[in-house]
Symmetry: C2
Subunit: 363 residues, 2 copies
């Protein structure tokens, strides 16, 4: 017998993803009808956005929109799929800007947007200005993607009253994501001793819970005319699960098998990442442990021995146990919220399945 | 007796601007109610956006929204003012990103957003990373401003049917502006001989006509339930006037009195700006004139003599006369479109007055 998690993943991959990919590709290409004149600049912009959007991605967020819609009894699944791609376009828009911010060169195994532009500019003989202009054109392309997302949402086959509500909701989710990004960047600028537990939890609740889980679910819910109770259940599910997922992700980043996680060894330590594991360890550490841990964090040429010392300190201070317990409790709260929600049976099983998948990873 | 231009400018300054400034300032401050927790990062973001938005600006675009609304018989002027600030917020959002793109340090006599952040980061001891992080935080702040604009538009006191229409219109104007920006950056990357008249005109029609004139007018028109004919009249007025204004601006940049224009001497020549004056001159130039002009364009240490040679070539090739004539014809077309439009008397006089002001500058 297949588990709920297996069923949900199968549905995500075999049902939702093809529907979403098809619409997303079509809509990006439709942008061509707005070109003000024939010019390679516009062709390239749409070509690059198409490439960027279509190079993979699990489509977890748009699938949450569709499942949220079905969960509250929505019946126009076609329109829900049409609306769902707006959140996937947002992901592209945010990643394009994030990659500039982080100066990253690769995204899903291919060049980031500013690097695509840089390569293109070099190929037409603009080598000396390619880096700077590539970033400029990537900012502008990201801004166009943002415009397209609102357009897609407003083009759907829903009454005006629901469109107004859903654009407000969508926009509010982007606001929260933006606040999460701002806080995240800010925490990186602070000495880690000044980062508080509440700050780290808030970043997770904005960048993961709101943006990835309860936001998309509520967007679908609004389109399906959900009750307040249903919207609240989506929130409780997503809020708790999103934080639990990120806490577990950080635990796996520090203690997980590098072969399974796929992350470079000790990358969180080398980056001096502001995880709750470290924040809590510093809070409980002796003066010596604190000095040792602070000396290790952010060290680019970190040795395996030093990484082991850091892991020991996080364990000895009780921070590992604290994080594990918190993640467990939050995951349980999230699961219970959706189990007890007054929503349709199949979507409920999907949401339980996705939750089980998200919190039982050992990769 | 006062002219229509004087009356219009007086109304812009004494009636529209105070109403718009008041609402804009209030709405930015209201953003605080969405802060997910108390943190200096959020306080700073809103403080900086307030400073950036409130440091001046004629408020020409939002005033066009209000006048467009009144022109088609709209009666809820309060709601029109509320909607109008969305386009002013867009100006802030676009300028924040443009200033990063152009690496500019000053905007309306004060630091640009990324420089405000850089200065702030330096003041809290982050000197070494202040430039890079300042740009990152400015990208994110610009993105928040974009979110706020949609929110403002959706919060207004109009029925859902009109809100849906107006967000689509607003969004479409941003799309056109984005295309204008993309094309503008792209033209800067091309050898000037490859830039065509059509390209230059298209940039003006997108970045000025659409974004500054007919776009805002149509936004107001949609809210006031304009007829198709009225929307078309706004388009004809704005399309022609916007291009005429920019052509004249370039003429003044090359031949105007530096003391009056306030621009650094020969700045367009030094930047190698892709103006229709230069494009047309190159088109008609002899081989020698072409070689000479191309040698002067983009020269950082340009002498007064060289600038004079460039001006002579633009004149001798007939490009100056061509540009003057085109600007005159377009301005006349724009004026006639609004004179013949079936709209309310007072707004019509305002629009005629603004047109006369825009095309009769000798500064």
């Amino acid at each position: 017998m297949e588990t709920l998690a297996e069923n949900a993943l199968k549905k995500l991959k075999e049902v939702h993803k093809p529907e979403i990919d098809k619409r997303l590709g079509q809509k990006i290409m439709e942008e061509k009808k707005y070109f003000p004149l024939e010019h390679e600049a516009f062709e390239k912009e749409v070509e690059f956005l198409y490439d960027f959007n279509m190079r993979g991605g699990k489509r977890l967020r748009p699938a949450f929109i569709v499942e949220g819609y079905l969960a509250v009894g929505g019946e126009n699944i076609d329109a829900a799929y049409d609306a769902s791609i707006a959140i996937e376009g947002s992901e592209a828009y945010l990643l394009i800007h994030d990659d500039i911010i982080d100066n990253d060169t690769l995204r899903r195994g291919k060049p980031t947007m500013h690097v695509m532009y840089k390569n293109y500019l070099e190929s037409i003989g603009l080598g000396s200005r390619a880096v700077e202009l590539g970033k400029s054109l990537a900012i502008v392309s990201g801004d166009l993607q943002a415009v397209m997302n609102y357009h897609w949402l407003l083009e759907t086959d829903f009454p005006d009253e629901l469109k107004t509500k859903v654009v407000l909701k969508f926009n509010h989710i982007l606001r929260l994501t933006n606040y999460g990004q701002l806080l995240d960047i800010t925490l990186e600028t602070l000495p880690i001793e000044k980062v508080k537990e509440e700050d780290v939890i808030t970043v997770h609740s904005l960048k993961t819970s709101a943006y990835t889980i309860w936001g998309p679910l509520q967007i679908g819910g609004v389109l399906g005319e959900a009750t307040e109770d249903q919207l609240n259940a989506f929130y409780d599910y997503g809020y708790n699960l999103g934080i639990a997922f990120q806490l577990q992700d950080d635990i796996l980043g520090l203690y997980g098998d590098v072969k399974k996680t796929g992350k470079p060894a000790h990358s969180d330590l080398k980056e001096g990442k502001r995880t709750l594991l470290i924040v809590k360890a510093l809070e409980n550490a002796t003066e010596e442990q604190k000095r040792e841990l602070l000396g290790i964090l952010g060290k680019k040429n970190l040795t395996d021995e030093e990484a082991e010392i850091a892991r020991d300190i996080v364990r000895e201070t009780g921070s590992l146990e604290y994080n594990k317990k918190l993640a467990r409790e939050l995951a349980e709260k999230g699961l219970n919220a959706i189990k007890n929600a007054d929503i349709e049976k199949e979507p409920k099983e999907y949401l339980i399945g996705i939750a089980e998948f998200l919190i039982n990873r050992d990769v």
